[in-house]
């Protein structure tokens, strides 16, 4: 029978990645001077599991490598070796190595073993170096046979058979070992050419006898030339708890002398023992023949470019609550069905109640289902202690990472996509924000800088804050760089907010040298774009000398949008609520006309360009008089524009449907949705709108100057 083990691979990969994460976390948290036993055990177990699993599933390179890691960890665990910084560093690098080996295997590639070999050599050097009681990297083999035979171990076939004198310790049975089973096995390997004779020498009197003890001893004669190793295997587990003397049968038969009284009693117990053996052997034989062919399930090996697994762990509670909700939905449906069968107008109230119940059920179900895709943000936060440690080490800065709100949940896909932007922001904080220890001390701050990561829910969104107590954004430098890049004019006056927003422009980096870490020009504009593609937003604020704060807002799910419905002519459009700053009544007095062609709204202390949606979208409107119209002020890419619409309709959650699937990408439109009456409404792409209308700070400012 052969079982296809590849069906277990996916689970093995997932639990191994988790184990590696646990190892990494444990190592980072560990106090080298006084390591916590439980932490060491956790780390050891993780390595042990990976070794065991990789060996079992055939990933021998990983098993070999993990074995040395585990061996070293075992020494630390048992106190034979003290943990030190270089061991810790080596272990951390090994975690990375194991991770990439597994990723390569998971993708179906041949793993690159260069790093593993190098690290393995380092481990072996450490292990050998201290004459510690370490095992050499032998790799686990299956089925080792124990040593410790009393007799000569000759593995060849015994000439004419064997004689075995077997005297177990009285407590043998308490280990769950059972001589009858062993004799049965012997009978099997000897194909029933066996005689077993019991000896009652050790039997005490009835009153002195402990019924759970074994006082019998046996002499076994095997009259078939079998391999000595087969016999050894049978006694493998009891060899230390019993006297097992195995002699080959030569010309002489060596039978352990049994006294007469025993002999006569012998025949009966012997036949008793022998018969069950024979019977059971028959059973075993037939069992063998009817051995069930295990169903071979074929699952394609999971191909993953990165460890983004296509499965999700869901707590049983969530599943149960979902089942309950579906149950309630079924009840409501059957109630409405009944109503519908014999309906007359007098029952309309019942109908309304039923429909209200349906709405309630549906909403609960929707929330419940969305929760299934929700996972705590700790999954993404967990990358950062390691990142902060490595980066701060490289830059020789002292940094404390404070995490809060790790339990805040967000959609799995959103979480997977927000990781990289967050890495970039944190790297930035460490690289550009936090100052060198001496600079900090000179400024009266503590030498160790703090980076705070915080996540929480706010009005249907998840908010992620990245704060640092570094030097803050350098306004002058940013403005200077913007002028250099031609983004703004030298004489332009910008608010602090506008200056900070400049960092999100493409190619923007005030790093003096392109440092290894950030400032590669893969900059903040990519971060903002990535966040925008998740229907989210990012803001930055900063105070010179005190630090910076980035705030990312993301919707709780990608497929559903909180929308503001607006009417333009006969058409309904939808604005993402997250992009709306405010909506105001059109008032001629606050509209200025700049440069003769563009209208601008004065909104407190800033100027907001106005666009007419019906113009941009070629919608027929009855009158073009602006009074009574509404301006929806939206923000995108750091810029505000005011969009003129006829009416504000309600706000509701809408399911985002693709327009591109069967049609094409339309500028200014990000998707479509189906309203309650079954008609299609288009969702506005605010960033596209802004581009279409051709407005930007630069144009306004230059027009303003001309005026």
């Amino acid at each position: 029978m052969s079982i296809d083990l590849s069906q277990f691979h996916q689970v093995f990969y997932e639990e191994s990645y988790e184990g590696l994460d646990a190892m990494e976390q444990g190592l980072l948290e560990m106090d080298i001077e006084a390591p916590d036993d439980e932490v060491i055990n956790t780390i050891f177990r993780a390595a042990h599991s990976i070794k065991g699993g990789s060996g079992t599933f055939g990933f021998n390179q990983v098993a070999e490598f993990t074995h040395v890691v585990e061996t070293l960890l075992d020494e630390v665990r048992s106190g034979d070796r003290a943990m030190n910084q270089s061991i810790m560093d080596l272990l951390l690098v090994s975690v990375d190595c194991m991770r990439s080996l597994l990723q390569e295997l998971q993708a179906g590639d041949d793993p690159d073993l260069t790093q593993a070999k190098d690290l393995k050599a380092q481990f072996e050097a450490i292990l050998k170096g201290d004459a510690a009681p370490a095992e050499q990297a032998a790799g686990g083999d299956g089925g080792d046979i124990t040593d410790g035979d009393a007799a000569d171990a000759s593995d060849g076939a015994g000439g004419q058979g064997y004689h075995i004198h077997f005297v177990p310790e009285e407590t043998l049975l308490q280990t769950g070992n059972e001589p009858t089973r062993m004799f049965r096995q012997l009978a099997e390997v000897s194909e029933n050419n066996i005689e077993v004779m019991a000896s009652f020498d050790r039997m005490p009197s009835l009153t002195a006898m402990n019924p759970e003890h074994c006082y019998l001893a046996w002499d076994i004669k095997i009259t078939k030339a079998i391999d000595r190793s087969e016999i050894d295997e049978v006694f493998e587990w009891v060899i230390d708890d019993a006297e097992v003397i195995i002699t080959e049968l030569g010309s002489e038969e060596t039978v352990s002398a049994a006294t007469d009284p025993v002999n006569t009693e012998n025949t009966e117990p012997q036949s008793e023992v022998a018969d069950p053996i024979v019977q059971k052997t028959d059973e075993t034989a037939s069992e063998d023949k009817t051995a069930v062919q295990a169903p071979v399930k074929e699952k394609a090996k999971a191909k993953a470019a990165s460890p983004e697994s296509s499965s999700i762990r869901v707590s049983i509670d969530k599943v149960d609550s979902l089942i309950n909700m579906v149950g309630e939905l079924v009840i409501t449906q059957s109630m409405l069905g009944q109503l519908g069968q014999n309906f007359d107008i007098s029952r309309v109230q019942r109908l309304q109640e039923g429909l209200a119940q349906l709405e309630h059920n549906t909403r609960e179900l929707q929330e419940s289902v969305m929760k299934i895709r929700m996972m705590p943000i700790s999954f993404v936060f967990s990358r950062f202690p390691r990142l902060v440690r490595d980066v701060s080490r490289t830059l020789e800065k002292k940094i404390d990472l404070v995490l809060s709100g790790e339990n805040t949940e967000l959609d799995k896909t959103v979480m997977e996509k927000i990781g990289d932007p967050m890495v970039h922001l944190i790297r930035n904080s460490i690289d550009h924000g936090i100052e060198m220890p001496d600079v900090r001390a000179a400024a009266g701050k503590s030498e160790t800088g703090t980076v705070e990561l915080n996540a929480f829910h706010q009005s249907g969104n998840i908010v992620i804050e990245i704060k640092d107590d570094g030097a803050g954004l350098n306004k002058e430098r940013i403005q200077q760089k913007a002028v250099e890049n031609g983004l703004i004019d030298e004489t332009t006056i910008l608010t602090d907010e506008q200056i900070f927003d400049l960092i999100f422009q493409p190619g923007f980096s005030t790093a003096d040298a392109v440092s290894d870490l950030s400032g590669r020009g893969v900059g903040m504009d990519v971060v903002r774009r990535n966040i925008a593609s998740l229907n989210g937003s990012i803001e930055v604020s900063s105070e010179t000398g005190l630090g910076s704060r980035f705030v990312i807002r993301l919707p709780l799910t990608l497929a559903i949008l909180d929308g503001q419905l607006v009417k333009v002519g006969d058409e309904i459009f939808i604005f993402p609520l997250v992009s709306i700053v405010e909506s105001i009544q059109m008032d001629d007095s606050s509209i200025n006309n700049v440069g003769g062609h563009s209208d601008v709204l004065q909104l407190r202390d800033e100027y907001v360009p106005i666009v007419q949606l019906h113009e941009l979208f070629s919608v027929n409107v009855e009158d073009t008089i602006d009074d009574d119209k509404i301006i929806v002020v939206v923000e995108t890419d750091g810029e505000k524009i005011g969009v003129v619409v006829d009416e504000l309709l309600g706000q509701q959650q809408v399911v985002i449907k693709s327009l591109e699937e069967n049609f094409k990408k339309v500028e200014g439109i990000s998707g479509a949705t189906i309203l309650g009456d079954g008609t299609v409404a288009l969702i506005v792409d605010v960033s596209g709108l802004s581009k279409m209308s051709g407005t930007s700070i630069k144009q306004i400012e230059s027009a303003h100057k001309a005026a």
Partner: protein
């Protein structure tokens, strides 16, 4: 139709003659056009569609087809023919058009449905439509019951240019 037939030594059967395609035909401005029946998903009456800004004029808009957003194209507009009012016979043929990268669903508004024909491949004339500006949409011409049917090449419709 089975293309495998026993060949008698003195009977030669031309394999091509045995293969046909089925076409659904419709009328537009007095002309009869045909589309591969395998691409036809359903036929609906015309109801309004939601207009999509900045799209070509022959795109009337999009509709909700059981949860999927599907564009509706006025075929007359695509062919630059004069546009009448939509009447009770105006019909939307929902097509699933396969192409190398996948498939697209779209609806085309036509004046009226005509018939379904089995067209032997051999009968289709694939050249000679001249410099017709709409030539790219034409797969071929075929004569059925003494009148001409213009067979359409559906993959050409998915580019919306």
């Amino acid at each position: 139709m089975s293309a495998v037939e026993e060949l008698d030594s003195d009977e030669k059967v031309d394999i091509d003659q045995v293969t046909t395609e089925q076409y659904l035909t419709f009328i537009m401005e007095g002309e009869e056009y045909g589309v591969d029946i395998l691409a036809v998903q359903e036929i609906r009456g015309w109801e309004s569609a939601t207009p999509v800004p900045n799209s070509p004029g022959y795109i009337k808009g999009v509709i909700n087809l059981r949860g999927t957003i599907v564009p509706i194209m006025d075929l007359r507009g695509r062919f630059d023919l004069t546009k009448p009012e939509y009447g009770p016979e105006t019909v939307v043929i929902v097509l699933k058009i396969e192409f190398d990268k996948g498939s697209r669903i779209m609806g085309i508004i036509v004046d009226a449905i005509s018939d379904v024909y089995d067209v032997p491949l051999d009968d289709i004339k694939r050249t000679g439509f001249g410099e017709n500006q709409n030539a790219r949409f034409i797969k071929g011409l075929v004569t059925v019951n003494k009148h001409m049917v213009i067979l359409l090449k559906l993959e050409q419709f998915i580019t919306f240019d």
